[in-house]
């Protein structure tokens, strides 16, 4: 890939193979000798954690699929059977169900990390976009997986989400019918969701390979955002980052295990242990926690079609972000103003997630009725979602584009190895030297 390879085949077999298919060389260059900035912090360990999460989901998923029955009359009971009668079935199923949540925790940390350190900026645009593709595929996979146990929330969640496509003009109704494979969410829907739920993780694995390829072309970004300049700045991936990632993975697994073994249903909705019944709608339809921010955006808009467009638009922002942020400085360590807006952005996402789990007209401050603004009381979840959603979009469409042009960033270090500036005059373009602010 990039740079020259330092791999030297040692045994005869390795030499023979290397001239025919240099696969050991590929592995060596990407996992052993890969030069990695030496200042990566723990926020950078989540890539490895994500790879592990994907592996866990695939392995546990394949075992589940050996016992699971994708039929409306049997799906619910087959999942319960897995937990009651299959040896260690409870372990496999709880690892898979909680593993999905862990996967999303890790991906959100990974993405906010990228936002903070400017990992989406040149030359990493393609790397970033591939990550966004993985995220989209993950959401599709998790949504369809959640339908499989065929509980009340599985079914009614599927109804609500597939119906969103019905909002599209002219083609909407035909698309929903096509998605359902009939005129309602039913057996054909469950079967195709199972088929796709099995397929998509392997597509994710494919995109992950592209993602890592792209990473190895341009190299890691790092907390300073300053590009690697010499060998001084890097260490070989192995053993330095294998051990650091390994430690982080082990700690992550501790948290994962605490859920799987001691609180396996804490992240799920109790109602999903009621078998699906099309005739009884649960009082409160909520998606899994990792979709709540988007659900809040969807419901913040009174018009259904606009809501759907805004929801997808929220994800589209991520794709075009590399061209929205006008600042040349990657890391927000050196962008105090942007940093402030970034933390408000994180807060806005959490607020959206919070609102997504509540009824839209529930009071934010209990018991206080203020005044009716348009369609709802101002002190309501729907209005709070609107403010947070407005901030979400402004962050991408106004704040980042404008800030890059107006803010005065702090001076960046000359190199990763020299975090203390010796020659402020030589600071990279865009990084105005202001010695009094240096810290």
């Amino acid at each position: 890939m990039s740079g020259h390879s330092t791999y030297e085949p040692k045994s005869g077999v390795e030499k023979w193979l290397d001239t025919r298919l240099p696969i050991v060389r590929l592995a060596y260059d990407s996992l052993v000798d890969f030069p990695t900035p030496k200042n990566l912090n723990y926020w950078y360990t989540f890539g490895g954690i994500l790879a592990l999460c994907l592996g866990i989901q695939i392995v546990t998923g394949i075992v589940l699929a050996m016992h699971y029955v994708p039929h409306v009359d049997m799906a619910f009971n087959s999942v319960e059977r897995i937990m009651r009668d299959v040896n260690y079935g409870w372990l496999v199923r709880y690892m898979h169900a909680n593993g999905a949540s862990m996967f999303f925790i890790a991906v959100y940390v990974h993405m906010f990390r990228g936002l903070y350190y400017g990992s989406y900026k040149a030359p990493r645009e393609v790397l970033w976009i591939l990550g966004c593709v993985i995220y989209l595929l993950m959401m599709a996979t998790a949504f369809m997986g959640y339908v499989l146990p065929w509980g009340q929330m599985s079914f009614h969640g599927a109804v609500v989400i597939t119906n969103l496509f019905g909002a599209l003009p002219i083609v909407g109704q035909s698309i929903t019918t096509w998605l359902w494979g009939g005129f309602a969410v039913d057996d054909p829907t469950l079967n195709r969701f199972f088929s796709l739920h099995y397929l998509l993780p392997f597509m994710i694995a494919g995109v992950v390979i592209l993602h890592i390829w792209a990473l190895h072309v341009v190299g890691n970004n790092n907390p300073t955002g300053v590009s690697v300049q010499s060998k001084e700045d890097t260490v070989p991936f192995h053993p330095y980052y294998t051990v650091k990632d390994g430690f982080a993975i082990s700690v992550f697994l501790l948290m994962f295990a605490a859920f799987v073994f001691f609180n396996p249903n804490a992240l799920g909705d109790a109602v999903n242990y009621v078998p699906a019944n099309p005739l009884v709608t649960p009082a409160h339809i909520v998606p899994e926690w990792y979709f709540l921010p988007f659900y809040a955006i969807l419901r913040a808009v009174p018009d259904k079609l606009m809501g759907v467009l805004m929801m997808f638009g929220a994800i589209a922002m991520l794709f075009i972000l590399p061209w929205l942020d006008t600042s040349k400085v990657r890391s927000m360590r050196y962008r105090p103003t942007a940093k402030l807006y970034f933390f408000i952005f994180v807060l806005a996402c959490l607020v959206l997630g919070f609102c997504g789990g509540k009824l839209p007209d529930a009071h934010v401050i209990p018991g206080l009725t203020t005044f009716q603004l348009l369609d709802a009381d101002l002190n309501s979840m729907v209005w709070l979602s609107r403010f947070a959603a407005a901030y979400y979009f402004s962050y991408f469409l106004i704040i980042l584009p404008v800030l890059g042009l107006t803010e005065v960033p702090l001076a960046q270090p000359l190199s990763i190895s020299a975090p203390v500036l010796s020659h402020p005059a030589k600071a990279p373009v865009g990084a105005a030297a202001s010695p009094e602010k240096r810290g």
Partner: protein, 281 residues
């Protein structure tokens, strides 16, 4: 047509900020301490056995428990586990429980539907032949299946305990519909039946289940006094087990896994510090 109705009902709920939507209320479940709480908590064997008796003598006349087989009662972690019978199918106590039930079968000679005594491999038979029969026997309401009931309700055991002990004679301003009972712990909205001040609408809802337990209803073999609270907490624990029969196995495994991961993390951290010792970063 029906499909359209519920599709729109779902969407309506999800997408509209309908201002005058009825509000469901309920009283938070009572706080009680359970022996199976926490990472090492286990079921109390005696309590499980008493709970089974309450289920058998009271609840099972209305509620099914489709996913549980008799043999489950004798498996590790179950109410009648006996180390002498590692295969629960051989457990004589379980066998005798099963024999007391009549289950449907097909006579292999004639093809007729016959009844035979249960075996440990059979599931608990349904009290009603089908759903319409269950509804007909309960004023139109369906007693939910009990196999997953405890984990299918927010609050689990505490919720079930609170429902069973929480029936209350309502104030005269509340007109309870025939065949229904007022229970503050049941989620619901009784405002339509309330004739008093709209500010004082009672929390909770109506439930179609008549109060199933009263003091002394079940006589416990171990001599435990049969108060309402005792029966309710025992059956709540039994239902927690029925929902999660592998809970004890899961927690025991988990403690081992946590210790393993903890040691592994410490070793990795020490290796990390050693490997990075000479790198300024």
């Amino acid at each position: 047509m029906l499909r359209k109705v519920y599709v729109f009902a779902a969407l309506g709920l999800a997408l509209m900020a309908a201002p005058a939507l009825a509000v469901t209320t309920q009283v938070e479940p009572k706080e009680i301490h359970w022996s199976f709480e926490g990472p090492v908590g286990k079921f109390d064997r005696g309590q499980l056995q008493r709970g089974y008796k309450v289920y058998r003598e009271v609840c099972s006349s209305c509620h099914s428990m489709n996913l549980v087989s008799f043999r489950n009662l004798g498996q590790k972690g179950g109410p009648f586990y006996d180390a002498e019978y590692p295969n629960p199918n051989d457990n004589p106590y379980v066998k005798s429980i099963a024999k007391d039930y009549q289950v449907n079968d097909i006579d292999s000679e004639t093809g007729d539907v016959v009844q035979r005594p249960g075996t440990s491999a059979d599931r608990f038979p349904n009290p009603y032949p089908n759903e319409p029969a269950a509804r007909a026997g309960n004023g139109g309401a369906l007693p939910p299946d009990m196999s997953t009931l405890s984990k299918a309700r927010e609050g689990g055991s505490a919720y079930i305990y609170s429902i069973l002990t929480g029936y209350k004679t309502p104030s005269a301003n509340l007109k309870v519909p025939p065949g229904k009972y007022y229970n503050p712990y049941m989620p619901g909205d009784v405002s339509g039946f309330w004739s008093g001040d709209m500010k004082d609408v009672p929390e909770g809802g109506f439930i179609a289940m008549p109060p199933p337990l009263v003091a002394g209803k079940v006589t416990f073999d171990d001599g435990t006094p049969s108060t309402l609270e005792q029966q309710a907490s025992d059956v709540a624990v039994f239902l927690a087990w029925a929902s999660e029969p592998k809970m004890e196995e899961r927690k025991a495994f988990g403690v081992g896994a946590m210790i393993y991961l903890l040691i592994f993390s410490v070793l990795l951290y020490v290796s990390y510090r050693r490997i990075w010792r000479n790198i300024a970063h």
